[in-house]
């Protein structure tokens, strides 16, 4: 018996690929991700800029500037967090609602799923062009429809009104992203065995009881993935704002990455790197804490 087990272990070991097969991936990861990342953090402590060939270590000077009262950076950080919170919450809930609706018991569900998923495959550039047209206050489709159905007072300057521009951007982002989350949820829902629902039904559980006590706990791994992906996406957001408002009106919809881009184009490379470093640290911390907390809940569930 012992000899048999030893032989089995040996054959299993022989089937595992040798460690040096990782070399290619490790080299690429190190050269294309780690080195630029570490260099970026280093540059954030310098005065690197486009106008001088000399670079000096300046300590935390760039970070002090970012957190200075007279600067706007705190406002951009606040915008980034607001965007992340709102879009994550709305997309997570909306994606789940779509998935629940299109999981079972609906005719032509593939068509419905395709329709809801289709915004995901559009590029941000196309999305931006389309929605700039739809949301144009004078000629846009949205205001035209509102006026035609007698809701003219609701017609607005969606992308230039300082009170609603940021929410319009969030709305477009939700429209574009909710379908993707729906697909993740659908995969999770279909992995839940129907026997649990049958058992719950026999016990007399209604739809919401089954949702609360069966679906959501078993869907928690998908929810963790969705929330983490959304938070990280929200903190890194750039494209949708760049193509819709370019940070305007004025600076009201600027977020960290649009400012990084702006600083970079102004030649203030070190400051741009400092903002990126800050974003990286926040993302790493949030991602780590979130996965840890949610994993604990999954285990408990």
């Amino acid at each position: 018996m012992k000899v048999q087990a030893s032989g089995k272990r040996k054959s299993m070991k022989a089937k595992i690929y040798p460690a040096y097969f990782l070399l290619g991936a490790v080299i690429l990861y190190f050269a294309l991700y780690l080195v630029p990342g570490i260099l970026g953090i280093y540059f954030s402590f310098t005065n690197w800029n486009a106008y001088s060939s000399k670079m000096h270590f300046v300590g935390f000077q760039n970070f002090v500037k970012i957190f200075s009262i007279g600067e706007n950076y705190l406002f951009y950080i606040k915008n980034t967090l607001l965007f992340t919170a709102v879009t994550t919450a709305v997309k997570t809930v909306l994606g789940l609602v779509f998935a629940l609706m299109l999981n079972t018991g609906i005719a032509a569900k593939s068509v419905h799923r395709s329709v809801l998923f289709s915004p995901v495959i559009l590029s941000f550039l196309i999305t931006g062009i389309v929605f700039r047209s739809i949301l144009n206050p004078a000629t846009g489709m949205l205001n035209t429809i509102l006026r035609d159905i007698g809701l003219a007072p609701l017609a607005a300057s969606w992308l230039v009104d300082p009170h609603i521009a940021f929410f319009s951007v969030m709305g477009v982002d939700v429209w574009k992203g909710a379908g993707y989350l729906m697909v993740i949820y659908l995969a999770g829902l279909q992995a839940i065995p129907s026997t649990y629902y049958d058992a719950a039904a026999i016990d007399g559980a209604g739809y919401f009881q089954r949702l609360w006590n069966v679906t959501l706990p078993l869907l928690m791994p998908s929810i963790v993935v969705v929330v983490v992906l959304n938070i990280l996406y929200g903190l890194r957001v750039f494209d949708i704002i760049y193509v819709l408002t370019n940070g305007g009106p004025g600076n009201l919809t600027e977020v960290i990455n649009t400012v990084v881009f702006e600083q970079f184009s102004q030649g203030a490379y070190a400051l741009a790197n400092s903002l990126s470093t800050l974003l990286f640290l926040v993302m790493a911390a949030i991602g780590f804490l979130l996965i840890r907390a949610m994993n604990r809940r999954i285990v408990q569930a």
Binding site: P18, Y20, F21, L23, G24, N49, A50, Y51, S52, S53, N136, P137, A138, S157, L159, V160, D161, P162, N246, G247, G248, P249, G250, N251, L252, F261, E262, F264, S265, Q266, G267, A268
Partner: protein, 436 residues
């Protein structure tokens, strides 16, 4: 052997890749009989079809091919700076420069071919020499419209119907706009969403600022004056804000697109548009029903009672990249493109309608209404961004500040303070001794 074989394969692949790259990098030197291709990098809108036509003539003559690398306008400068810093720019690159931005923007001694000994340099308009010269050396080919005047093109029929005079002061401008608005027409077509156009009223009256506050240019460049501390700048920004508040830029000026100006002007929805001197001809070209040319008139920007025709002494000029392996061809192509017959072709066929190029003997191209305007308003001086340091590089940020002012989150004074702040930052980045 089982372990060493894959490693050997990886090493061999790396060596092969390295050799290939090395061979690629030295393709020019190793095979001089290969046809030469000159790469040209530019922002969208900086290379006209006529530039490609002239390059095609050069190709027919010499066999030298061209690779046009055109990038979107809002990305080009960032990419250009990055590539220059990385040491891998195209053989010829274009950059937006002026006398006060050339050194900081391009760092020509480090990045551009010295063109000082080229025969055509002697023919360059003396007014344009500072825009292409650093420390006595010429670095740029000024193949650009030297008659770029930003003026208001107006619909004569609307003005005649409402019996309005051509404005010669801010007060007249304002009363004309009020009458036009009262008639149900947008007085001015403005497009803030473009990001840059609404900065023109502030910056294109450089001579007037100098007239009202003599020496202000020098004081700003020496850091002995600030925008926020100069009443004329505050007055100009306040006037622009007043027009926006009164609705004289139209109801949708924040979301209008620049391209729609042609339709708005051609259909009489708007009465005035701040465009380059050739705008009326361009408009008729796109909307033939808007013709004839005499339907349109031109007047200079009356902000701050300005009556000067300001002139630009800079623009997207051409540089030969210092590390180009084709320096000889670059110099030869530059000389070819500014031959008198090619300059005439460039002026005649350029779709942007330039008035002239800054070379001695180049023909002027003004049409009838432009000639009238040039006669009435002689050139008064250089635009603000080409005479005051650290204004041009923050053009888009000034645009954002003005937009903030339009939506009420900044005051005119905030806008000026913001300009001063960014100037100080740019000066510090460039170690400007006046800001020490």
């Amino acid at each position: 052997m089982k372990r060493t074989l894959p490693i050997l394969m990886i090493v061999a692949a790396a060596v092969w890749c390295g050799q290939s790259l090395w061979a690629g990098g030295n393709a020019e030197s190793s095979s001089s009989s290969q046809p030469v291709t000159l790469s040209v990098s530019a922002s969208q809108g900086w290379i006209d079809q006529v530039d490609k036509d002239i390059a095609a003539l050069y190709t027919a003559k010499t066999g030298v091919q061209f690779d046009w690398q055109i990038l979107p306008a809002n990305q080009y400068i960032t990419v250009l700076h990055t590539k220059l810093n990385a040491g891998e720019e195209a053989d010829i690159f274009l950059d937006q420069v002026s006398p006060v931005t050339l050194k900081g923007e391009v760092d020509p001694a480090k990045n551009a071919i010295d063109l000082s000994d080229q025969p055509w340099v002697a023919r360059v308009d003396p007014l344009w020499k500072p825009a292409i010269t650093v420390d006595g050396k010429v670095y740029a080919l000024p193949m650009w419209n030297s008659g770029l005047h930003w003026v208001y093109t107006y619909n004569k029929a609307i003005f005649a119907k409402l019996n309005l005079p051509v404005p010669t002061s801010y007060a007249e401008f304002k009363s004309d706009a009020a009458a036009i608005k009262a008639s149900g027409i947008d007085p001015i077509y403005e497009a803030v969403s473009a990001g840059w156009h609404h900065v023109l009223p502030f910056a294109e009256i450089g001579a007037q600022y100098e007239k009202l506050d003599p020496g202000i240019t020098e004081k700003l460049n020496n850091n002995t004056a600030t925008f926020a501390g100069t009443p004329e700048f505050l007055q100009a920004v306040t006037e622009i804000q007043e027009f926006a508040k009164l609705g004289y830029f139209g109801a949708n000026y924040l979301s209008n697109s620049l391209d729609n100006s042609y339709q708005a002007m051609a259909t009489g929805k708007a009465a005035m548009y701040l465009g380059p001197m050739g705008y009326a001809a361009d408009l008729i070209n796109r909307y033939p029903n808007a013709g004839p040319l005499d339907n349109w008139g031109i007047f200079v920007e009356p902000w701050l009672n300005n009556q000067y025709m300001d002139v630009s002494v800079g623009g997207p000029l051409r540089f030969g990249y210092i590390k180009s392996p084709h320096k000889k061809q670059v110099l030869d192509y530059f000389a070819f493109s500014v031959q008198p017959d090619n300059l005439k072709t460039w002026l005649d066929k350029n779709t942007t309608g330039p008035l002239s190029v800054p070379f001695a003997g180049a023909p002027a191209n003004a049409n009838s209404i432009e000639q009238v305007a040039l006669k009435r308003w002689p050139e008064g001086g250089v635009v603000l961004q080409h005479r005051v340091k650290y204004v041009d590089p923050q053009w888009m940020q000034i645009g954002k500040d003005l937009e903030s002012m339009f939506v009420g989150t900044m005051t005119p004074m905030d806008v000026l303070k913001s300009i001063d702040k960014r100037r100080a930052e740019q000066a510090n980045l460039q170690s400007d001794p006046s800001w020490k």
